[in-house]
Amino acid sequence: MNRNRILFGIGVLAFVSVIVTVRLGGFLVDNEYRQPDRQVAAQEEQGEAELTPRQQGIADEQAADEAEAQARPYEEAEYRTVPFVGSRVTVWVLAQLHLLFAAFVLAVPLFAFIIEFVGYVKKEERYNKLAYEFTKLLSVSFSMTATFGAFLTFGLIILYPKFTNYLMHIFSPTFLPYVLLFFLEALFLYSYYYGWGKFGPKMHLFLGFMLNIVGTAIMFIANAWLTFMMSPGRRDDVDGDGVPDFVSAVSESGALLSLRDAFFNFTWMPINIHRIIANVAFGGSIAAAYAAFRYLQAKTDEEKAHFDWMGYVGNFVAIIAFLPLPFAGYYLAAEIYAFSQTLGIQMMGGTFSWLFVIQAALIGNLFLGANYYLWLGMGRMEGGVHFQKFIKWLLIAIALCFAVWATPRYAISSVSEIAAMGGSSHPQLSYLGQMSAKNTAVNILILSTYMSFLLYRRTGRQSVHPHRDLLTRAQAIVFSSAAALVIFYGVYGYYVDAAIRIRFAIPQVYSVLAALVVITVIDLPLYRNAAQSGETKWGRMPAVSQYALIFIALSFTWLMGLMGYVRSGLRQEWHVYGVILDTSPDAYTPTLGFATQVVSVTVLIFFGLLGVVFWLSSLGGKKDWEPKPVADGRDQLEGGQAA
């Protein structure tokens, strides 16, 4: 008996079981005890028909329910709950899933457009094909984004009706532009995707450009809604005393005073900048994971070469965007501090401080994964052995920085351990838990990763620039100076007051940023038209490198989930910070353990759905279905039916 027949049999059996159960239930209800018909008829004739005790009970209950319903006044619900899961977790998971797909849908057009533009300028068709491959992922992801957006909207309306109504009161003028922009995004996205090869290159690039503009505008509007909840106003020196004052966008009772201040609120622009960069990093990593998935499925060398290259480009985009991300994060955190010290302290020194230890592990793993992939990538090129001796030093630097960043200021200790240490912090290691050490570690991590990339870029190439020695030395001096400056400020930070120490992060960040820019500016002419000492063999990467790409995508997704929780959780018991209190049963900050469980569930659902997106996107490359030929030459439909 074949498998299809067994499945068909199970289906028929299930259907028959349902019918039998329904019929049996109906039979039992219809055949409950009743008085003999003749007795009932006789009583009815005499006008004295009596109900059985059961019927009387049911009638009484119905009457009581109806009376209660009639007496109940209309009340607007403030909150509604979801059994077992709870309303907060429901909205939390829906919002995070919506955001993950939205981030991907916003990011992919950005680098697809850039890659297409590079292909147009360089007149190389392979870039065009690569950009199209990335864009294939957009169609299904866009539907997922819209679906979860609708789920989230309904979730908010149903579960938090009063608060949602309040947000509508504040932001109703922004809804129509949002919907119109969403419509335009759909128009540009589908015309960009389906119009590939159908329009001239300039027209197609214009569509891609407009898609990015509209997508970014949508994000900016949505960011106003969520940042308003954290910072409902702006800071401005109203009285001219040189100290910024808080200018609230709403009155103490929550009534709108200025839509402009509510929209362009204090944390709006920092979030916009942080999200654009983070979206590109995240989108690049997910696109690289797709390439890895296809690489592992690939049957031919040509397919492997294509998806290896795609994975490399996706990862390159992710890492290039990831390098400035800590700076954008620092800017956002500094702005949160500037808006409200209470919020800032809650974030870094209060309830959420331990979360940043998990964040350190995530970011450390991202750096390790990205560097590992680059080091394996050197195997693609002949002549890669020359640089492999540097890898162990880079690995040591990255591992040390990772260890410093993950060192907490206060250790989890037993009573005896606390007694032995003389306090809840370790007498020596706790110094590594301070911001001076952590800022130093993250900056050196960034420099090390950039060095890995430079080595990868040089593998198999020989500069033919007339001043190559001078320029290479200049790069080394810039790199060493930046590293020395970062370490100097890291150490010096222990000898000054907190007010001065906190400002040291700025020269550290600027020196690293300047080093990245200067070294890149020198490197471009230095390796232009470089002599190739060997051929780059795409498709030669070991399978483990592809799992590394998927691991990076997983860690990015986790990072998004965790940081989303911090940003939203910072408000603690406030819907709108300082204005609208959350009075629901969920008005408390859960444990980190619980938060990571929710993030885990979200990540698993997202990757499950991502599997569907990848599978659907890969269908386009498969052969069309064809009827199976049979012996007599006629085509045969699947299932044995002759055509």
Partner: protein
């Protein structure tokens, strides 16, 4: 015999393993639920001693003074000034201001005077999101006075704000 794990299964194991690892990290860090501070009741018949006790409760709860900002009895690199002995030294911080006036100004207008060596940053705690009432402010001042000094504030004291 070499055991070969199919690719889809490897992917599933990678996703589950990575997620389990990060979730495990979340379980081994200290676990604390942060609930909104309970309401503090101040009645008209409360004495200065009662206010000190209420002020101490507010400082570590609704007032958020001791939640990552100030300390009592610590030295070394601190975020904001340690409050140990503030009851005694309040009167000498700003010439012309009594201890009570200095403490009231510190709470209502924290940017008016910054202790040397520290950065500006404290928010007025009678404003949202902390929003202490006038009586609660008096309780906090009574508690501050008790740190190295003699509390004098009652509910009838005029703070001048």
């Amino acid at each position: 015999m070499k055991l070969s794990v199919p690719m889809p299964l490897r992917l599933v194991l990678l996703v589950l393993g990575t997620t389990a690892f990060y979730m495990y990290l979340g379980q081994i860090v200290p676990q604390k639920e942060a609930h909104p501070p309970p309401p503090v009741l101040i009645s008209a018949e409360m004495t200065t001693e009662d206010l000190v006790a209420v002020g101490a409760e507010l400082a570590s709860g609704k007032g958020q003074c001791l939640v990552g900002c100030h300390t009592v009895g610590q030295s070394g690199p601190l975020r904001y000034p340690d409050l140990d002995g503030i009851g005694a030294r309040a009167a000498t911080q700003i010439e012309g201001l009594s201890g009570l006036e200095y403490l009231a100004q510190s709470l209502y207008e924290p940017a008016a005077f910054i202790v040397p060596g520290f950065a500006d940053g404290m928010q007025a705690i009678d404003q949202p999101p902390i929003s202490l009432s006038e009586d609660e402010m008096k309780a906090v001042i009574a508690w501050l006075q008790s740190l190295g000094g003699t509390p004098t504030v009652t509910l009838d004291t005029d703070l001048g704000y």
